[in-house]
Symmetry: C2
Subunit: 450 residues, 2 copies
């Protein structure tokens, strides 16, 4: 019985050429986060299920990969009449990087008073795989835990914009809105506070389904056409000459709830401070931005580029999530970049540099010179060259063909003559340039070739 050798549905094998591209992007993001004082964190691939469930909404709970109980615990469940999904599994795969951070902060009380952490790890969601949508994908998160003010919000926004600029994204839009402002707009439209989550969910789809789609969804949830149109009208950018702080101020003046006015005031402050950072020219006020996740409590962010439906990343303030773990409420704000989305755009736009995948040299040998060739290879490696020794006793022609197919920069041939005189014949594969040099000079000669 042949076993399928494909990776599981929605997952990928990352071969070397693809990994060089992924690492290029990750290392630029990582170095940028480090310049903003973020320090690394890694959490386990799986969490106890109660840590994950109830944080992402019903849809999120359904998409968590669950791990079967083991041994006697599994036998007990199977023997009982209660063997449902809830009893059979005790662990779940990481679904995002925010909930594990919240758990870590609740658990480790000796963290810095203001904990700036970045985390770049895979997450897993049992979503239906589609083009660009995977079941295993990577998030690159930067969060500041412990601070309530605008500065922390400015820092995470500036960090992700700086990272994208370093990657070559000159044109990226940082959409900003505020959950309290949205709450005020929903109240202003005459929608009851109990229907706020429903209204947010419908509004979140405006980009995809248009105004009529939003109105239809609202109607289906019992929110009348008049209120729906009022909400859509309120959630439309006022004309303010492209000046977001001014647009926010204009909208804020019209609001009657305290939450709405507070949201507008905080956004005004945020836009003013962003002007002192690399994010300033990218930030726009997006009153229709709602963000799907339930745990946001203040400013919310999303990154858009013209040639991608969907976002490169998003984030916001979530002051209640850490308190869900039964410890003190601790404020937090963060931003998450989606690695796969960034790679998709960079490859389509040909923003990715070329990577030399081959070794600096392949060392070739004859039956009688195998040990001498091994010694030459180690001398080259001691000079920090990446070196393969051809592994089989084959004719030289075959060895040279392999070196060429492996995209090696050079071959280093240790024949009997070379071995006898402690020399090596070097050949630069791109130009055909060939020379015989003392073994001690070989590393420098290979390095001199471009």
């Amino acid at each position: 019985m042949a076993v399928s050798t494909k990776p599981p549905s929605g997952t990928r094998d990352f071969l070397p050429a693809e990994l060089f591209r992924r690492r290029h992007v990750v290392s630029i993001i990582e170095r940028t986060y480090q310049r903003y004082g973020f320090v690394p964190l890694q959490t386990p691939a799986f969490e106890n299920l109660p840590v994950l469930l109830g944080k992402y909404g019903d849809e999120g709970d359904r998409l968590v990969f669950r791990i079967l109980r083991r041994g006697e615990a599994l036998a007990r469940v199977l023997a009982s009449d209660e063997a449902g999904e809830g009893e059979l599994a005790d662990l779940g795969l990481r679904y995002d990087l925010t909930v594990p951070l919240a758990r870590v902060v609740a658990q480790h009380r000796d963290l810095p008073r203001y904990f700036r952490r970045y985390q770049i790890q895979p997450v897993w969601r049992a979503d239906r795989p589609a083009r660009g949508r995977f079941r295993e994908f990577f998030q690159c998160d930067a969060d500041i835990v412990g601070a309530v003010g605008r500065v922390a919000e400015v820092e995470v926004c500036a960090a992700v914009i700086d990272a994208l600029i370093a990657l070559g994204f000159a044109q990226v839009t940082l959409k900003i809105n505020h959950r309290a402002l949205l709450s005020g707009l929903i109240a202003e439209a005459g929608i009851a506070a109990e229907a706020e989550a429903t209204a947010l969910t419908a509004l979140d789809k405006r980009d995809k389904v248009g105004d009529d789609g939003v109105l239809a969804e609202l109607a289906g949830r019992g929110i009348g056409d008049e209120q729906g149109r009022a909400l859509l009208s309120l959630c439309t950018l006022p004309d303010a000459g492209g000046e977001p702080a001014l647009a926010v101020a204009r909208l804020g003046e019209s609001l009657s709830t305290e939450a709405g006015r507070r949201g507008a005031a905080e956004l005004g402050e945020l836009f003013a401070l962003l002007g002192a950072t690399p994010a300033g020219t990218h930030a726009v006020f997006a009153p229709e931005l709602a963000r799907g996740l339930g745990y946001y409590t203040g400013p919310i962010f999303e990154l858009a580029v013209p040639d991608l439906a969907g976002s490169l990343g998003g984030g916001g303030r979530y002051d209640g999530l850490i308190g869900m773990f039964g410890k003190a409420d601790i404020p937090a704000v963060g931003f998450s970049l989606g690695l796969e989305r960034i790679l998709l755009v960079m490859e389509e736009r040909k923003m990715m540099p070329a990577f030399a995948a081959g070794p600096d040299a392949v060392v070739c040998w004859m039956s009688q010179t195998r040990a001498a060739a091994i010694a030459v290879a180690h001398a080259l490696r001691a000079e920090n060259l990446a070196v393969e020794i051809y592994p089989e006793d084959h004719k030289l022609k075959k060895q040279l063909q392999y070196a060429s197919s492996a995209a090696a920069k050079a071959v280093a041939i240790v024949g009997e003559d070379e071995a006898a005189s402690a020399e090596v014949t070097l050949k630069h594969l791109a130009t055909g340039d060939q020379r015989r040099v003392p073994q001690a000079d070989a590393a420098a000669a290979i390095k001199a070739w471009s």
Copy 2:
């Protein structure tokens, strides 16, 4: 109901200080593997269960974490009478890095003729957690696929020894044996070929349980005392003045089976070639070394240090594994380093360098200078300094206390005077040295402090 905020049993949160240590070790191993021409591979966290099962023995199969089926597929299994462990799960977490490599090689037929891959990723085993034994731990593997000769074996051995030397392990022993030689020794002892696996399993425990323990286990499996003693005597290093090639040759002369003589000949060749590499002085012949895993077919390796029970890593040749995926048999040899074991020894021996965990500077500000402070921080970051902006509107004393607790190198104070004159007051926290400089000179001044 309070949810536990501990990581799941047998797993760990890696906080920044621990991650700096782990990355230090990983990056040295990675750079060494790269010098040997190995290129990176990453595979998904989970595999389809049939890929994993039947590769690690019964005990291994029991230790695979299994992922519950989802949605309708789960409902169908639960509704049937067949809801056992085998039906409830369709995926399993990665158990080692060798079987995923074998699957990748069987799947991707466009890989280089000789594929040198390294892979550094976590693996998961549902083992009982104990001191130094985790359910999530990292392996650092280097394998060469496609070559049958001794050179490939020499390369993986030299690569791991070179990596350990670069980490500071001067005293490490590379134990080497050969499955075919062992097979010959087992035959020579009068043990039937059918009992070979049993004999290997018992012999593998010699280190832990001693000769009497091995004899007891052999007796329990129906292998007589005389044969057991003969095997132990054969699997004892002949006196050869510490010269492994000589010891192997002496042992080989006494063997009557073809497999045994072939194993001895290959080992002799291997020891001779290792002499041309950094591994030469570390290699010893270990005729009692058996290695647990079933898939080895040729030379087998294990790394020992005096102050650790158990090994730092192991490997061997496995020419049959890739063929188990129903494609052509492809030869392969590899070595796996255990990251946690290496870290344990390095920390106990205090081999780990100190890492500066704090930022280069914390920027402090007053209520009126917040935007100016943000601009100063970004100017410092543009000079590649790691900079935090203090995130709250607090008294300067509290800001300085935080900078000190965060192990910052310096603080950069932007008060009203400084903002007005485009200056900044810098303070070096280790010495108390303080100076006021133009903002344009601040980065250079901070870099000049040690």
